[in-house]
């Protein structure tokens, strides 16, 4: 394996959790719900997924439980912001704090445990191709799922009737309601989807990325996913580009340091953020029209009866 190939593989690992979490949050936000609890839901996914994988000695169980944990936390959020029409920013922040704390409690007995790597795809012939073989045909399931998720969300938002409903709800919930569209139900499902994705992203961190669990291991990735959604102007493909650009810049700056190019490490550490913001802003500008936030983003909806 050449260094170049190794770098590409590391980039995929670094980008995937951001992408999965961002795509989930993107769907929630397109439905008009700003959920700042991504970090907490990810942390729960990481802790519960890891605990289940150890407890049942099964990666599949870990993934399932991690997704469930993220979804369950999202359900609490949905109850607050949809059921009680609570402030979304406040509820989301509370969700992050709750998730980080609760995950610490749940994960505590599993501190120090470790899992073996999960299997990677192997297609004889294809996987053995030089350079691109392992990159395209030798990844773990999460990577393919994350890419499939992006495709699915693109098609869903653009083509599916329910996807159009979701966008209508996110742009103007009063009009959508007047048209007889199920605003609260749509938002509930979008929030739960966001939670499931954040949970999956968390599982990826603990089961694939580091293969151990430790408190606070999300280390701000939930916030980066949130920022990606904004800078990607709520477009799934841009979010894909943003996540991979961020992952690439993160890994390349580490390599640049190891390669001793002589730039200060503090500056290099900032590169992923600067590069991602610049690229996504440029992308939006070049499109030539304003790509604003969904019209009803963050606004609570109380149906008038």
């Amino acid at each position: 394996m050449t260094t170049f190939e190794a770098i590409l593989l590391t980039i995929v690992t670094a980008s995937t959790p951001l992408l999965i979490a961002a795509i989930g949050e993107l769907v929630a936000e397109r439905a008009g719900v700003l959920n700042l609890g991504v970090e907490g839901m990810m942390a729960m996914g990481a802790a519960c997924g890891f605990a289940a994988a150890i407890g049942f000695n099964s990666t599949a169980a870990g993934i399932a439980v991690g997704i469930l944990a993220g979804t369950a936390l999202a359900a609490i959020f949905a109850f607050a912001v949809l059921g009680l029409a609570a402030n979304q920013v406040g509820s989301g922040l509370a969700l992050t704090i709750l998730g980080l704390g609760l995950s610490g409690l749940i994960g505590a007995p599993f501190v120090g445990a470790r899992r073996d790597p999960i299997p990677h795809l192997h297609i004889p012939g294809l996987t053995d191709l030089p350079v691109i073989g392992r990159l395209f045909f030798g990844q773990d399931a999460f990577v393919y799922i994350s890419l499939a998720l992006v495709m699915a969300v693109v098609l869903f938002l653009a083509r599916a009737r329910s996807g159009l409903t979701l966008r209508a709800v996110g742009e103007n919930h009063s009009s959508a309601h007047a048209l007889g569209l199920p605003v609260l139900r749509t938002r509930l499902l979008a929030i739960l989807f966001g939670g499931a994705c954040a949970g999956l992203a968390g599982v990826y961190l603990s089961l694939v990325y580091t293969r151990f669990w430790s408190p606070g291991m999300t280390a701000g990735r939930g916030w980066i996913a949130l920022a990606l959604v904004v800078f990607a102007a709520w477009r799934p493909v841009y979010a894909l580009a943003g996540a991979y650009l961020f992952g690439t810049a993160t890994v390349l700056q580490l390599h640049a340091q190891a390669g001793q190019i002589g730039l200060p490490s503090q500056l290099l550490s900032a590169v992923p953020y600067v590069a991602t913001i610049l690229a996504l802003v440029l992308l939006s500008v070049l499109r030539g029209r304003a790509l604003g936030a969904p019209g009803a983003l963050g606004a609570p909806f109380v149906p008038d009866r």
Partner: protein, 355 residues
């Protein structure tokens, strides 16, 4: 007038708190930079806290606040001071200024700041000479590397970490004159995923023995997954890398913490500075494993020599990167002051120190 009244009220309150404290338990607070479950730095401090509880039992009550961001630590430290804690340990270099400020506002509370350099009558500092251990692991790395390139994952370019890198490299150089070192900074004490990425970057660039000065076992575990070698940091990390961990530099704060808590209880507590190394037991080496017998023997002998004072990692003469000699302010070695404020790489490190 209002100020004087305020002052008087503060003094009265402090006296009341002081006299009440005499009958009550001593409340001891800890501020950690990472989670206690980091298996490294903060975990070891918490081992020390538990040792206090075990040793002094009902005479003390301990509290800890974990994962406190350095920039926002003043609130947490003041929170402990305000809630009647008589002795407060702040356990990261970045807590220095906030600790100094809070100590000034609470003259009757005793503060202890780990790895710091600023003291006051109610603020003591303490640190472990981790660089002594790093010289030993440097020698092991120098012997064990096949590619001739060893690696280092650093958190922040502060003197404590820079001295560690220099000591590690000097150790390696002492047994392998042509050894090269590659250094990656993650600019975080604790971000397991990023630490793992940094380790991968080093391994991908030809490093085969990895040392780290960050708090999670991720770099070591990455070495294990790649079939390379590494060292545990702050805590024995063998369970994460049974095949890869050659040894670990363990911080054992327990004896110091117990002694200081006792001193605070019987009134003999005084501000000061303690910098303990291998000889004092504040730094302990984990068992030497996964290495040939001769390397193990060399490591044990070096450990013994450092303990007895025969060997100092920063012995003179010592040259900076450009070859200029470092002034020797200690006896035949750098002074403690010089090591604690080290801001240069030694000769042979082919990299630029970010400043």
């Amino acid at each position: 007038m209002r100020r004087i009244l305020g002052l008087a009220a503060t003094v009265a309150l402090a006296l009341a708190a002081g006299s009440a404290g005499a009958q009550q338990k001593l409340k001891i607070g800890f501020i950690y930079v990472g989670p206690v479950g980091d298996h490294g730095w903060s975990y070891q401090h918490d081992v020390g806290r538990k040792a206090i509880e075990k040793e002094l039992g009902s005479r003390v009550e301990t509290t800890f606040v974990e994962s406190v961001p350095e920039a926002d630590s003043e609130r947490a430290i003041e929170g402990l001071a305000r809630t009647g804690h008589g002795l407060i340990f702040t356990t990261s270099f970045g807590f220095m200024e906030p600790t100094v400020r809070v100590a000034r506002r609470y003259p009757n509370v005793k503060f202890e700041h780990a790895t710091g350099i600023k003291r006051a009558p109610n603020l003591a500092t303490y640190a472990a000479k981790l660089h002594e251990g790093r010289y030993i692991i440097g020698q092991i790395a120098g012997k064990m590397t096949k590619t001739g390139t060893i690696g280092y994952v650093g958190a922040f370019p502060i003197p404590e970490v820079v001295a560690g890198i220099n000591s590690y490299f000097l150790g390696a150089q002492s047994v392998n004159p042509n050894v090269k070192i590659k250094i990656v900074w993650v600019n975080s004490w604790y971000d397991p995923a990023k630490e793992a990425d940094a380790a991968k970057a080093l391994l991908d660039q030809g490093v085969d023995v990895l040392a780290q000065h960050t708090d999670s076992p991720a770099p070591l575990q990455t070495a294990e997954a790649r079939g390379k070698m590494g060292f545990g940091q702050a805590s024995d990390m063998e369970r994460f890398a049974p095949k890869a961990q050659l040894t670990a530099i363990i911080d054992d704060w327990a004896p110091y913490y117990v002694a200081r808590a006792k001193a605070a209880l019987d009134g003999s507590w005084k501000s000061g500075d303690v910098w303990g190394g291998l000889d004092s037991g504040m730094v302990v080496m984990a068992p030497y494993k996964n290495m040939p017998e001769d390397v193990k023997k060399m490591a044990e002998e070096t450990e013994k020599a450092i303990k007895s004072g025969q060997l100092n990692p920063f012995k003179c003469p010592l040259a900076k990167q450009d070859g200029a000699a470092v002034e020797c302010k200690g006896t035949n070695a750098l002074s403690d002051e010089q090591i604690l404020s080290m801001n240069f790489y030694v000769k042979g490190i082919d990299d630029k120190l970010p400043q």
